[in-house]
């Protein structure tokens, strides 16, 4: 896998410019989510909130081009309904470009 070009090494990305990179993202399965709010309570990026009443109480990710999501998946860990998980991991590009990573996977018991 490639390392950084000279231009990448010398450019600090603008942290909220979608052309430079992306923040973390989660997907929420509203069939499973019961709006308990545990994920929103512990999210270090303040990216999640619960809205709606009764059966329609569900969790959502805040509507921002760059939520402060660091793709930690702590929301996935605390959700006992398997309703939320990281779909995009953060990569701000240029100087901070992520290197040498693969796709998301659970621990593999070789």
């Amino acid at each position: 896998m490639a390392y950084l070009t000279f231009k990448e090494r010398t450019t600090i990305p603008t942290y909220d410019n979608p052309e430079h990179g992306t923040s973390g993202r989660v997907v929420i399965d509203h069939e499973r989510c019961n709006g308990c709010g545990n994920c929103a309570l512990i999210c270090p990026g303040d990216c999640l909130y619960v809205a709606g009443v009764g059966k329609h109480k569900k969790c959502y990710m805040i509507d921002k081009a760059f939520p402060d999501c660091m793709s930690c998946n702590d929301c996935q860990a605390i959700c006992d309904r398997d309703a939320i998980r990281v779909s995009v991991t953060y990569d701000f590009g240029y100087f901070y470009k992520i290197l040498h990573r693969g796709e998301l996977a659970y621990p593999r018991n070789f």
């Binding site: 990305p13 402060d68 860990a77 100087f95 040498h100 018991n109």
Partner: protein, 253 residues
Amino acid sequence: MTETLDVETEVPEKASQEGEMYTWHEGMEWNPVERIILERRSVRKYKDKQVPEKLVRRILEAGRFAPSAGNSQPWKFIVVRDREMIEDMEKYVRLRCKVLKFMLNWQTSPLGKFAWLYSQMGARLMPNLMHPIPFGATALIADGKLKLFHGAPTVILILMDTRGAAKPPVDVGICGQNMILAAHSLGLGTCWVGFVEVFKFGTKWNKKLGVQWPYRLVEGIALGYPVAKPDGMIERELQEVDWWEDGRKRTVF
């Protein structure tokens, strides 16, 4: 005699599936140590209930026996269980983060273009502290949306002896993780708190805590009983590994 021995050494089929310790079979279940390592998550919401003193003392023992370069043990622990003091540290760090946000966050600062300039300079001088994640977290702390110790009733601060052998920051990390894994195995939750770094933008806490040369405050650990069940296995990125064997290199994930 020999017969009894034979019976004892024969591992029953079922036990071999249950992840016992000190042995490995392909595809076996996680053993208890692996489970603690893999299920440990950073805990950011704690119950009010204080952790018993003896339990904290026991966790410190796990730190004391951590490996260190040249056995130099370049650490010193400060335990804070005074709620008012923890609250004061929270407030202090929040205020400092507000100043940092004002100086550097071009998105929100009235300094506008100057903040942009400072942040660009800052990122070149301190690329680790200005990494986009702590940069964002500074703003979150300033706005009260992220806490410093997350309401934990006990905090362990780790000071590093800057005269330690070879690479003391590595030793401090190992020592802290020893305590963290022990804590989770004992039913507690923890969170590393690198943001104690902010104490260096002032003299108050170094004075109050008595942090002076040769020590430097490097990390904090929040400790307490978690709200809900934050520990659990999750998905993370695979890591690209260069694997040298039989005279050639392979890439494995």
